[in-house]
């Protein structure tokens, strides 16, 4: 099989429509199933009451936000290495979804934090590194938006994404160390070390739903970018 067959935007264009359709359907089905499990099957948490149910959105969104940056950097690196046009378009198409999930993770996290920790925001290591991740996404999008020539925009964005993905572990660990230096871990996201099976199932199903959603919107966005450029 020739892996580069679909590297051309022309041949990828119809495939993207098929992928977008099916992953879109899968996203809706999985999200309905996940929300059903989350709201009706999963038991009420002994310590946090009903407020914990936001994790069915929050945790999958946080996972996707980090995962999508790595995927974006992967496409970016591929684009720089093989000089394929489609890779840059994929990276560009993934960025808004990644930023969206990062924002959702921060937002739902603060909504969860208010009843549980009593505050919307703490300078917890994870929260802070998620915030910096959002800045990295916005920087990537800002750079691409500022460059008129699409080829240069793709390549410049690719380099930035690679520099960012190398920095993410460094940022994460330094933020973690910074926090533990200042204060003990007064709050931790690991509130329930033993999680009931329906809770875990609901979270995993929702994660799959978000995954499918990301694929679907990225494909739709790639089709728009291909149309725009050709």
């Amino acid at each position: 099989m020739n892996w580069f067959w679909y590297a051309s935007p022309q041949t990828f264009f119809p495939l993207a429509a098929t992928i977008a359709r099916w992953s879109g359907i899968a996203a809706v089905v999985l999200a309905l199933a996940g929300l059903y499990i989350g709201f009706f099957v999963a038991p009420t948490d002994a310590q946090q009451g009903e407020a914990y149910r936001i994790i069915f959105i929050h945790v999958p969104a946080a996972w996707m936000s980090m995962f999508l940056y790595v995927v974006m950097a992967f496409w970016a690196a591929l684009g720089l290495a093989f000089n394929t046009r489609l890779s840059g378009m994929m990276a560009r198409a993934l960025a808004p979804t990644g930023a969206l999930f990062t924002f959702i993770a921060l937002w739902t996290g603060s909504l969860w934090g208010k009843p549980t920790w009593g505050t919307y925001w703490v300078w917890d290591a994870r929260l802070t590194s998620e915030l910096i991740l959002l800045f990295l996404y916005l920087g990537f999008m800002g750079l691409q938006a500022a460059i008129d020539d699409p080829r240069r925009a793709d390549r410049a964005g690719a380099l930035l994404a690679i520099v960012g993905v190398i920095n993410i572990p460094i940022i994460y660990y330094s933020v973690q160390w910074w926090n533990t230096l200042h204060q003990g871990a007064s709050v931790s996201l690991k509130s329930s070390p033993t999680m009931a099976a329906p809770m875990l199932a609901g979270m995993l199903v929702m994660a799959l739903a978000f995954w499918m959603y990301s694929i679907a919107v990225a494909m739709v966005r790639v089709r728009c970018i291909i149309r725009e450029r050709q």
Binding site: L80, I132, F135, L136, L138, G139, G142, L143, A146, I147, R151, R152, R155, A156, L159, L160, I162, V163, G164, I166, N167, I170, I171, S174, V175, W177, W178, L181
Partner: protein, 222 residues
């Protein structure tokens, strides 16, 4: 090869000497930003002592970023950059030399003047050394990482603001370790751990950033 490096460093320093106001502006910015904080948060000595490392480091970050947009802009405008790109000297070495010259002009003065600001903030004299050492190790990293951003945003509209958006999140580890080393030393635990990490950042940045800067310059000047 060393000839090219010497030539670039000497040229950039000479250019900076001929335009002294540019250098002075960034340095003055550093001093002014640091001097504004007591006016904003109040002159309570204990509070000032506790925020001093962070404030001085943030001011250093901003000041080193201010001068970044000029790093390649003038060379880009008058065509020198194209000659450098076409020239025989390895581009990554040339940009490393440029980043070094940028640090000599914008980072080293901060190291030298930081103890004065520490005095303003009533930091104990025993911490001056740690503060200066942390800046000495950290500011070259700022110049190296910043040069990647400067190369990527070369010739873009709104480049300066965009540059800060790209570069500031990447500065976070340096800020944390730099300010952290002084805070640890103030708490009597010694800041060696953070200083060693800063040195590690410097080694990694010096090894890899020149390639990234060179690649970014090639992308920007296609």
């Amino acid at each position: 090869m060393t000839g090219a490096i010497q030539c670039i460093v000497r040229r950039d320093l000479l250019l900076a000497m001929r335009r002294k106001s540019d250098v002075a502006t960034a340095l003055l910015f550093f001093v002014i930003v640091a001097s504004l904080f007591p006016l904003g948060v109040g002159a309570e000595p204990n509070l000032l002592r506790s925020i001093a490392p962070g404030v001085i480091w943030v001011a250093a970050l901003l000041s080193s970023m201010l001068s970044l947009s000029r790093l390649f802009a003038a060379d880009h405008a008058d065509g020198t950059l194209e000659q450098i790109l076409l020239g025989a000297a390895p581009l990554s070495l040339v940009v490393a030399a440029k980043a070094f010259a940028h640090w000599l002009v914008s980072g080293l003065p901060l190291v030298l003047i930081a103890p004065l600001l520490a005095l303003q903030y009533d930091l104990p004299a025993s911490l001056y050394g740690v503060l200066a050492l942390s800046l000495l190790l950290g500011t070259p990293v700022l110049s190296l990482i910043g040069a990647i951003g400067a190369a990527l945003t070369l010739g873009l509209r709104g480049g300066g603001v965009l540059l800060s958006l790209l570069v500031l999140p990447l500065y976070v580890p340096v800020l944390i370790m730099g300010a952290g080393s002084v805070e640890m030393a103030a708490a009597g635990m010694g800041g060696q751990g953070q200083l060693l990490l800063l040195a590690a950042f410097l080694v990694v940045a010096a090894a890899f950033a020149p390639w990234a800067i060179a690649a970014a310059l090639r992308i920007s000047s296609e």
